[in-house]
Subunit: 106 residues, 2 copies
Amino acid sequence: MPTHNLNVFALRLRLARKAKKLSQERLGILAGIDESSASARMNQYERGKHVPDFLMASKIAEILDLPTAYFYVENDLLAEIIQVSHTLSNEQKLEVLRFIKDLQDF
Amino acid sequence: MPTHNLNVFALRLRLARKAKKLSQERLGILAGIDESSASARMNQYERGKHVPDFLMASKIAEILDLPTAYFYVENDLLAEIIQVSHTLSNEQKLEVLRFIKDLQDF
């Protein structure tokens, strides 16, 4: 049984925030956290001390232009697939699905 | 701002469990919940009354052969992409990423 990385949320959040060049404080404020605690709360999330609930995770994901599920993916390549698929149209997503099914049949 | 579907976990869990033809009780027991409460706990998860923590979600995902992130995806097509990508080798995942990037450049 693989070890479940309970800090996967923390790791993905830090990477995604830095990619958007936002400070912890700024991201926290944009996600609706009070200015006085935004920096500390985001820091706790990134250190894996607390995991936000799904609603807060969804708010953060939206600000970072990511699907919420991105934060919960342990495999790096799967995380990247989710990240890039997020912005595709439904028709393009169907093309991706066909491509994957062809790969599996090969 | 879109409405965040807090019951996305409940919906995906029910669909995935039924696809594997497992009862709520059986899945709960396999996930390590005590026999006396397995059925009730799984039923609460599927009705969206409680959302399991990440560790329990990971255990359930493993039994159902799914990546944990699958439970947190709101878009149905993206959920399917995650589900089918999960079983690919890393080399195949890289092929999928190249395919998506070509789609985006098109």
